[in-house]
């Protein structure tokens, strides 16, 4: 808790992180209050008059209408729910698996650890998107299947990151002391090592949400999204298939910009968090000393502070 508060104190002084967080929360807000914000029911075809299909924006329909006469803005607002659900649930899954694998491989090591790392290396070289395409097209389309596939394939990087951290933490004094007074492996992992890697995992989790959102939209764009839900990727798929010849930019651009908006927000937030929690050096020998002050004021090098305590 103490740690998280300290991270927040640094984080709130970083404009990039704050802007990113605001971008994310604007989408979260839209997703939660979708029924109140959307001017129309996204599934209802408003007009069946042929000239209203793909009608350009006007006062009643701020982003025009799609090829079935539905309101684009309302679909966009409801689409936020799909993207965020996929992003957060899939990311939670891959963070959970990756952290578990990383902790076991790093702390326990041995034959099990080796086997886990070989599995990680194996998944790391398998091309993700083609594999997802193959699995979903065989297994069938569906929201939970997409979430499952993205979560199951996205944990490798986190596992490696956690493992490398655990390997160095394992040899530190407080772990050795805990072991000396007879603490078991499980207790050491959960009580002493996990809290140390948690900040890094959180930064990684934020980045992985954006990865999951982009993966979902790619799958949907390629025609493998959940057929019962309109996600941003699926809107782009429809728009690309049916509206590009008519240059219906009001149908093509908004869902794409929505994806970019939320993923860039997450990336800005995640990168800032990563810079705060990653104990790497933040300055170098060709560094212009004029900027040094700002950096040091912004970031207290955690690694050094901890090292001094030991």
């Amino acid at each position: 808790m103490q740690q998280l508060r300290e991270i927040w104190r640094t984080f709130r002084r970083r404009p990039m992180g704050i802007v990113g967080a605001l971008m994310l929360f604007s989408v979260v807000f839209v997703a939660i209050f979708a029924p109140w914000l959307a001017p129309y029911d996204p599934d209802v075809k408003i007009d069946i008059d042929p000239e209203d299909l793909l009608a350009p924006p006007d006062v009643e329909h701020l982003l025009g209408r799609d090829d079935a006469g539905k309101d684009v803005l309302s679909q966009l607002i409801y689409g936020a729910r799909v993207s965020l659900t996929v992003g957060f649930v899939a990311s939670f899954m891959s963070m959970f698996i990756g952290t578990t694998v990383g902790l076991i491989a790093g702390y326990i090591g041995g034959r099990i650890g080796n086997a886990l790392m070989r599995l990680t290396d194996f998944l790391l070289v398998i091309p993700d998107l083609p594999l997802m395409l193959v699995i979903i097209s065989i297994w069938g389309r569906g929201l939970w299947k997409i979430i499952f596939v993205i979560g199951m394939l996205g944990w490798t990087y986190n596992a490696r990151l956690v493992r490398s951290q655990v390997l160095s933490i394992r040899e530190r004094q407080f772990v050795l002391r805990a072991r000396a007074i007879g603490a078991g492996s499980l207790r050491i992992i959960l009580r002493h090592i996990f809290p140390q890697v948690l900040p890094l995992i959180l930064a990684q989790a934020v980045l992985s949400v954006s990865g999951a959102i982009i993966a979902e939209s790619s799958l949907s764009f390629l025609g493998l999204g959940d057929p019962t839900l309109v996600s941003w990727g699926m809107m782009l798929n429809f728009a690309f298939e049916r509206a590009i010849s008519r240059m219906a930019w009001w149908f093509l651009l908004p869902p794409g910009f929505a994806i970019v908006w939320v993923s860039v927000g997450l990336i800005m937030m995640g990168t800032t968090l990563e810079e705060i929690v990653n104990p790497r050096l933040r300055t170098h020998h060709l560094f212009d000393p004029r900027h040094m002050v700002a950096l040091i004021a912004g970031v207290r090098p955690r690694a050094e502070a901890e090292g001094a305590m030991e």
Partner: protein
């Protein structure tokens, strides 16, 4: 550990990965619902006998993986006369099956299209690497300045940009100025010589640019953190103390050492790049492996899908092995963990 040990381990790992991919590829497509014979011969008038004959011809009467019955009778070799061994044997002969739709040999279709994707990916990777290294170096050196923030922000935005959406934007912008779909203007044939290839080149511009822009971002970010790390090493301080100017330090001391992690990154990135190729080829109708994958997903053409996936996985595995080997040549300190 000896370097040869390291190399042997890497080769062994690559082979093991390949075996798992082949096994996975076999089983995944085996759990498909429906009768594969019906997918090839759709006619409802096909007699039971004819269907049975097809089943035997394709080896589908054999057990899937392992014949326990025959092993118990002492026929060890016969126990492995199964669909899986038939599949592996066919693979080794370069036989990937026949397309459900076009009835063409899958290997033949892939061979015809693979170069188009190779050209696209190679061009995009080269551009991305070039820009990524330069921008990453500059942004690390000018750390804390407005220039770094600009490069960083731009890299972060293009990192969050899906390939297919950037493709659509460029397509809308370039419409009327550049060809936006296909590989060549209809009517133009390879026999036209130079005019044809120039036309193909013009069709390549947009897809290459799309992929290059998206992939530059990850190289910028990696190069930047790599250079920052290198610049904080003591030998940079030594170089500075010797009186070398900034350009010399960057070129002779920072660049070379910071490039090392990039070798691994290019190979690892390839796993993402082929995914990007599917999206970009779909947007621009570039008739390569990626577009083939998209089409076969729409048409449920599983043999093509299976072959394409195998080819993509194989090329990424080989690229990673090559990167490992190259890395151990470039950096003599390399040892296995």
């Amino acid at each position: 550990m000896q370097r040869s040990d390291y190399l042997i381990r890497r080769v062994f790992f690559a082979l093991a990965t390949l075996v798992v991919v082949i096994g996975f590829n076999f089983f995944l497509f085996r759990i498909l619902p429906g009768d594969p014979i019906k997918s090839i011969a759709r006619s409802p008038r096909l007699t039971r006998e004819a269907r049975e004959k097809l089943r035997v011809d394709f080896g589908l009467d054999k057990p899937v993986f392992f014949d326990g019955e025959r092993l118990r009778k002492g026929d060890v070799l016969g126990a492995f006369d199964t669909q899986f061994t038939a599949y592996v044997r066919a693979l080794l002969h370069g036989n990937l099956g026949i397309s459900y739709r076009s009835r063409r040999d899958v290997a033949e279709v892939l061979a015809e299209r693979v170069w188009r994707t190779v050209v696209l990916v190679a061009g995009a990777e080269t551009l991305a690497l070039l820009f990524g290294v330069v921008l990453g170096l500059v942004s690390a050196w000018r750390r804390g300045t407005r220039l770094e923030m600009t490069i960083l922000l731009w890299a972060l935005i293009s990192w969050g940009l899906p390939n297919f959406f950037l493709g659509i934007i460029l397509l809308l912008l370039a419409r009327g100025h550049l060809p936006v779909g296909g590989m060549a203007t209809p009517g133009l044939k390879p026999e036209h010589g130079l005019a044809y290839w120039a036309d193909v080149g013009r069709h390549l511009i947009l897809p290459t640019l799309t992929m290059a822009i998206v992939y530059t971002s990850s190289y910028v970010l990696i190069m930047r953190s790599s250079v920052v790390e290198v610049l904080s090493e003591d030998y940079i301080l030594t170089a500075k103390a010797k009186g070398l100017n900034t350009f010399q330090i960057l070129r002779d001391h920072a660049l070379k050492n910071a490039m090392l992690p990039m070798v691994t990154m290019v190979a690892l990135n390839l796993a993402y790049t082929v995914g990007g190729a599917i999206q970009v080829e779909t947007v621009f109708s570039w008739p390569g492996i990626g577009r083939l994958m998209y089409d076969s997903v729409q048409l449920r053409d599983y043999p093509i899908l299976q072959g394409t996936f195998l080819l993509l996985a194989l090329s990424v595995i080989v690229a990673n092995l090559l990167a490992d080997l190259l890395y151990s040549v470039l950096d003599p300190r390399v040892k296995a963990e």
